[in-house]
Assembly symmetry: C2
Homo-oligomer: 298 residues x 2
């Protein structure tokens, strides 16, 4: 039964792809087997697009898709941005209509719901990205909101990370500058016609200079498609000089995350809960002693 | 050697407390033993103060400390807000000087650096909160920025969570309303003299009403100490009606997090890395099969 699904997936069948992703999202028992059976093409580049809420990541991704399909490339977009309009379905239908690419044969867009589980979102994102890497795309885009550590971790899964800023994100740059600079291969100052843009760019470039980093900062107005072809050219140029050691580091990081997820899944929460309730009744209960004993017992 | 440290800690010695926290922060081998040896008083209430960056959490915490020490209570404050001024040391020294309580004998303030490790920050926060619960305080405040899932998880560790908003956070309310409403026991509309405050309060109350939640929304101007005594009264009133089932749920959650952290610590990253490099050389390498075999082997 799944042989047909895997065959269809690897031949670029969109229905099969959608079904595989849903299987993984629902953490169906079959998803692990599925992932063990497919051929993952690690040569397919992953572009991370991240930035604070309201920086226009979705609009920029939209415009960038236009550039990519001009090059006759097939592109998959994964949205894991909780502030992205693609998460609100009917609620924000008008904003969804902005994205014209849903029906384009060379574009596949999927949004993922954020999960509360420890490492849950992260491991699912790894798995779904790998499904996309088995599905005959030329390029994968992951769109995330750049706030928490989780999102920074996701950005680290990308071969190239584009950090989108707006003139208003001056404060964010100060707050998050270490995290941002660590992950960014390209900065985009979106909505660059707004007041303060030059000041923030200057501030950003000064910061980059002080840590001896040479990262391009591109001005754009995504809603007017301004600066988009320059962004695409910069991405292509970065992709032409891939770093093999980053590829291996990425696989190591993924392997570690998958292993962590497996270990977490094996924890028997019911037994933990029952034994804790019993232990609580004993005098001098200490949580740390309890956990140590529980972990040894098994 | 550590018997003296534990004795001093439990008698409210601030130097011993600071040293214990540093031991845990550095994940010294001794920290686990330390935690297994102390008496943790789970009756000491933990107040979480959270909200988006720029909502004035630190100023509000500052003002609240003033109210608490008026009641002759001893209070410990844990800042795990990466946007908090307390993280920048000399860089933002002027903002630090705002907090007058550093030298007050009944106030202990400690800021924690955010950690990148999966679950790292979380488990350290659990451990440090427990150290504070062994150190003779009447009240513990945890100040976190309410953006990512991690921070929401930390807020769940509190007995009572105060969510601080500003008129500008209208959008945040829409984006994060589910998460916020799940954790909040009290809302504070800070900087309520700014335009738009009434509108956002109305919107928030409508949302609360629609999910049948009766959570107080208090107006404040923290910088002018306005509304602070009302916040303190509301906290005290909430603390007078504790929920025993929440206490047990909290312990279960903590036990689970500690167990996860122990399992993660046991992963041999060096061996994982070495075996991955070998496996990569084999034709038809599949990451998911590799991880499965690695996990079984051990």
């Amino acid at each position: 039964m799944y042989e047909q699904l895997i065959h269809d997936l690897m031949h670029g069948n969109i229905k099969a792809l959608a079904r595989c992703i849903t299987l993984i999202e629902n953490e169906a028992a079959v998803s692990e087997k599925l992932l063990q059976s497919i051929q993952i093409n690690n040569q397919i580049p992953v572009i991370g697009i991240t930035g604070p809420p309201g920086s226009g990541k979705s609009t920029l991704t939209d415009a960038l898709i236009g550039e990519i399909i001009k090059e006759k490339k097939k592109v998959a977009v994964l949205c894991i941005d909780p502030s992205s309009p693609f998460h609100y379905g009917a609620l924000l239908g008008d904003r969804i209509r902005m994205r014209d690419w849903y029906l384009h044969p060379n574009v596949y867009i999927r949004s993922l719901a954020a999960r509360g589980a420890l490492g849950g979102l992260h491991v699912q994102t790894i798995a779904i990205t790998d499904i996309l890497k088995a599905a005959n795309f030329d390029l994968i885009i992951i769109e995330t909101v750049g706030v928490g550590q989780n999102e920074i971790d996701i950005a680290r899964l990308a071969d190239i990370t584009v950090v989108v800023l707006v003139p208003e994100s001056g404060d964010d740059i100060q707050t998050m500058k270490n995290g941002l600079m660590e992950i960014a291969n390209l900065f985009v100052m979106n909505k660059c016609d707004r007041p303060g843009a030059e000041k923030v760019i200057y501030f950003l470039q000064q910061n980059l200079h002080s840590v001896h980093k040479n990262i391009p900062v591109i001005k754009a107005i995504a809603i007017q498609k301004e600066g988009i072809s320059e962004i695409n050219e910069n991405i292509n140029s970065l992709l032409r000089s891939p770093s093999p050691s980053k590829q291996i580091d990425l696989l190591k990081e993924k392997a570690y995350q998958l292993l962590v997820a497996q270990k977490i899944r094996r924890i028997d929460k019911t037994r933990l809960s029952q034994e804790l309730e019993t232990a609580l009744k004993q005098p001098g209960f200490n949580l740390y002693r309890f956990v140590k004993i529980f972990n040894k017992e098994k």
